[in-house]
């Protein structure tokens, strides 16, 4: 249960970070494209953006849907091969 929760938290963290990371990447790109940031800030944003892009790619690469079944008021792992 503890493991499952940790895993959930981890997953949730991943999901949250993908959405927010992609949003952050978009934000960074548009900020830079507006062009009214100082070079210093710009370089910082650029570095951050590169990190965001890399993280997004990693998340997509690793992403798998996690399937569970809700039965009798309980959640349990589900596998198609069991039928």
């Amino acid at each position: 249960m503890g493991d499952a929760m940790a895993e959930n938290a981890n997953n949730a963290g991943n999901f949250a970070s993908f959405e927010s990371t992609l949003a952050r990447l978009q934000e960074i790109v548009s900020t830079l494209e507006q062009g009214n940031v100082s070079l210093d800030t710009g370089m910082q944003l650029y570095k951050e953006g590169m990190v965001c892009a890399r993280q997004c790619r990693q998340i997509i690469q690793k992403a798998k849907h996690e399937i569970s079944v809700w039965q009798s008021g309980e959640e349990s792992p589900f596998s198609l091969s069991t039928d």
Partner: protein, 443 residues
Amino acid sequence: MLGHNLAILSVSTLTEQLRRQLEKNFPFVWVRGEIANYRMTASGHIYFALKDRDAQLQCVWFRGQQAVCRKEGGFDPLTGEVYDSSRHFPDFADGLEVICAGQISVYAVRGQYQLVIEFVQATGDGLQALAFEQLKSRLAAAGYFALERKRQLRVNPERIALITSPSGAAIHDFLKLAEPRGHGSRIRLFPVLVQGNDAAKEIVAALKTANEQSWADVIVLIRGGGSSEDLRVFNDESVATAIFGSQIPVLAGIGHEVDVTLADMTADVRAATPSHAASLLWQSKRDMGQEIDELDMRLQQTAMGALKDAGDVVASLSRNLQWFSPEQRLQRNEETCAILQDRLRTCIDKMISQGEYSLDLVTQCLSNRIARMVEYNDFCLDKIETRLCAHDPHAPLRRGYALVQTPQGEIIRSVVQARLGQGVNLLLEDGVLGVRVEDVRTA
């Protein structure tokens, strides 16, 4: 019996014999089937085929017979039931399931046996279709299908409540399509029956549970293809109502493209099939990758652009700075000096040459003037000389004249000046004669 008849028959004779046999054996039959190829001719006769999965039966309903059914107070010849004209004269359309009664006969011209209908009534299924239409209208009126209440699905949802059969083809298709999509999500399966008597109850319960848990971003209700009977539960009012009442947006993908159930129509989003449902939920990883690539590229471009701009500014400023450096300044001053010096020299040169020129001019004038003066004086001298020469008292002597002078040298111009006896000097060109005056005569 016919087999023993060795006589050779004409087609008409055989057909006539068959007709008699058929009419004798099937004077009045009840047949259930689905209407196909329905058409009403100009004469008012109705033709169609009754079919089920494996067979079909041509039917003809002559106009005269139709009138019996249409007439108020008509009745069933077997049961005595009085016709309710709306029920017993259904709106014909292909696909409508009906029960027909009549006699089997042969249409000799085509060599085709057919049912000559005496009356028709909609079957339970036909009625069900009617009931379905009524229910649909009612739900539509209640706003179940209104576009305004349809909610948009979140892109790439993280938590999905999946309501379907755990063993059906639908979940296979759905999960297969889900795999290369999205950035990872949690799918909570609510196993339900998707056909049969308990199906509606289970689906409604699952919708309720999913809503109570309030965990999912979206509820996905799917079922693979099947007959209209198989899909009937998705036309159930309780299911449609549960979908309508769901706080969580519902995505339905039921049957094949052609199947549109009330559940589909009530759902916020309708997918044509379970696979389609998966593709509506999540972007493909490839697309997401492309999006990231595109952002990445823009990031590079803008950052590099900003760097280049900054570099340009620095370069331009350092050029400016160099311009103001002491060395440059010194050089510039030197250059200025040199230029000024040059100009000065030019000026002086110009002035000198101008002076020289003026001097030349003046000198020229002067010498001209002097020359002229000399010339003039010469001229004057000549003139004077000439005049002088003209007045030379000795000049006439050369021509033979003589000049008379007193011994004192005084020139005697007139005879009166001379006295008799007086000695005078006669000056000739080449000497002097001393003579005495011996006579004086006046001219």
